[in-house]
Symmetry: C2
Subunit: 246 residues, 2 copies
């Protein structure tokens, strides 16, 4: 596995060469939270079409764009070059172990074989339940409800940081289930350790980047947990951690 740099326009796809595939999170880059720029999308597809490579479009939290309509999937631009991967892990629950792939026709049989030999263990009951949720419209309602909940959580977190910790800058678009909070001049692991002592499980940015890559000191703060009744207390703890630093 090699790596591709990421800037404010997403993955720097210029860097692609003779790789067989590239894994992208175009809707919301992990962990930096930027959107893959339209020109970069076209460039990645041209690269794949020219070299026979595959673009793996991991749309793991693509349902959760808060500031505007989500950008369409790359897969629809180039169905023969792009494998689209979606999941209910963020919209319903990761424990369901359900997702889906939209595949170039030539890959379908091979992927079905691999899935079968890995046990084909997806529960039929859960799949049928999901199909009914989708057909009845209940899944769409759940997405809209979850989007509102997570948007409010993100807004509260970002507002708190802006008000009480103005030195901590949040990067990335208003989307997904985490923010990257920059800590100029701090050791992110020390801050994460202090947060852990306050009962908060947050990670340094380094835990989300390829080993050896340079990155600015930052925390990756997921706001999908804890449950609603505990979220205000969690924010207060985070505020206490950041106040202790200044």
């Amino acid at each position: 596995v090699t790596t591709v740099p990421v800037d404010e326009r997403g993955a720097v796809v210029d860097a692609l060469g003779d790789e067989a595939a590239v894994l992208l999170t175009p809707a919301h880059q992990v962990p930096m939270g930027v959107v893959l720029d339209p020109a970069r999308r076209r460039q990645a597809i041209r690269w794949a079409a020219g070299t026979g490579a595959i673009v793996l479009e991991d749309d793991y939290d693509g349902e959760f764009r808060y500031d505007r309509q989500a950008v369409g999937a790359m897969q629809s631009l180039a169905p023969d070059q792009v494998v689209y991967a979606g999941t209910v892990s963020k919209s319903l629950a990761p424990g369901l172990r359900l997702g889906w792939l939209v595949l170039p026709a030539a890959l379908v049989d091979g992927v079905v074989d691999v899935k079968g030999s890995a046990g084909a263990h997806s529960s039929a009951v859960d799949q049928l339940t999901l199909a009914e949720l989708i057909e009845s419209g209940a899944y769409d309602r759940q997405i809209r409800r979850a989007r509102l909940v997570y948007r409010r959580r993100r807004d509260r977190l970002v507002e708190m940081l802006a008000r009480y910790s103005p030195a901590v800058e949040v990067s990335g678009i208003a989307a997904g289930l985490h923010v990257v909070a920059h800590l100029p001049g701090r050791e992110e692991d020390d801050v994460a350790a202090l947060a852990a002592r306050h009962g908060l499980a947050v990670q340094g940015l380094g835990a989300n980047t390829h080993p050896g890559h340079e990155h600015p000191p930052a925390l990756v703060i997921g706001y999908a947990t804890p449950p609603d009744h505990a979220y205000t207390a969690a924010l207060a703890r985070l505020d206490a951690v950041l106040a202790a630093l200044s």
Copy 2:
């Protein structure tokens, strides 16, 4: 993969040599329907203990013994030599993809690794639901209810064969979800094909034995399907097929 002969006392474990493992169905041999004799059980365990091999005890329909209390699992006799495999595929539904292994302690970490690398795709929701069924006693009630239903189905099938097709002998113990019906002097594949034309999916014994092995002509008749309201009609069709032969 090599094979072990089967006689009326189950797998002929004398035949085991330097194999790394043997797969047995001690409670109800597939497809012949015999129980593994106590002396053979002890012999297989001695073989495994002496050579360092593993006995894989597949107890896939061990809940369904109709004529008496089921024999205990081999695993309890030799927990360091036997891997016990159970499943809800027969007691609840195969589509749940849930089962369990009881493993020698030394194998646990390796099996967990392999399961994890194969996707770890068992639904947490289904596992929690099963745990609640077990803890509440509802799973035991389901087993008892299913045992009664399947026992009645088997009894009706066996009685019909004895009354109207006395030349067709049923072998194996009163257990499980299938019978082996012997068809002396017949081509089993022709009978299975005739049954298919009558809308019955039954297999010849050859479809359930290792390629190249000699076996007497017989049908393997599963009675867990069709649903209750269609079972009488299915029996009548089978009777018509067998009557057409005589």
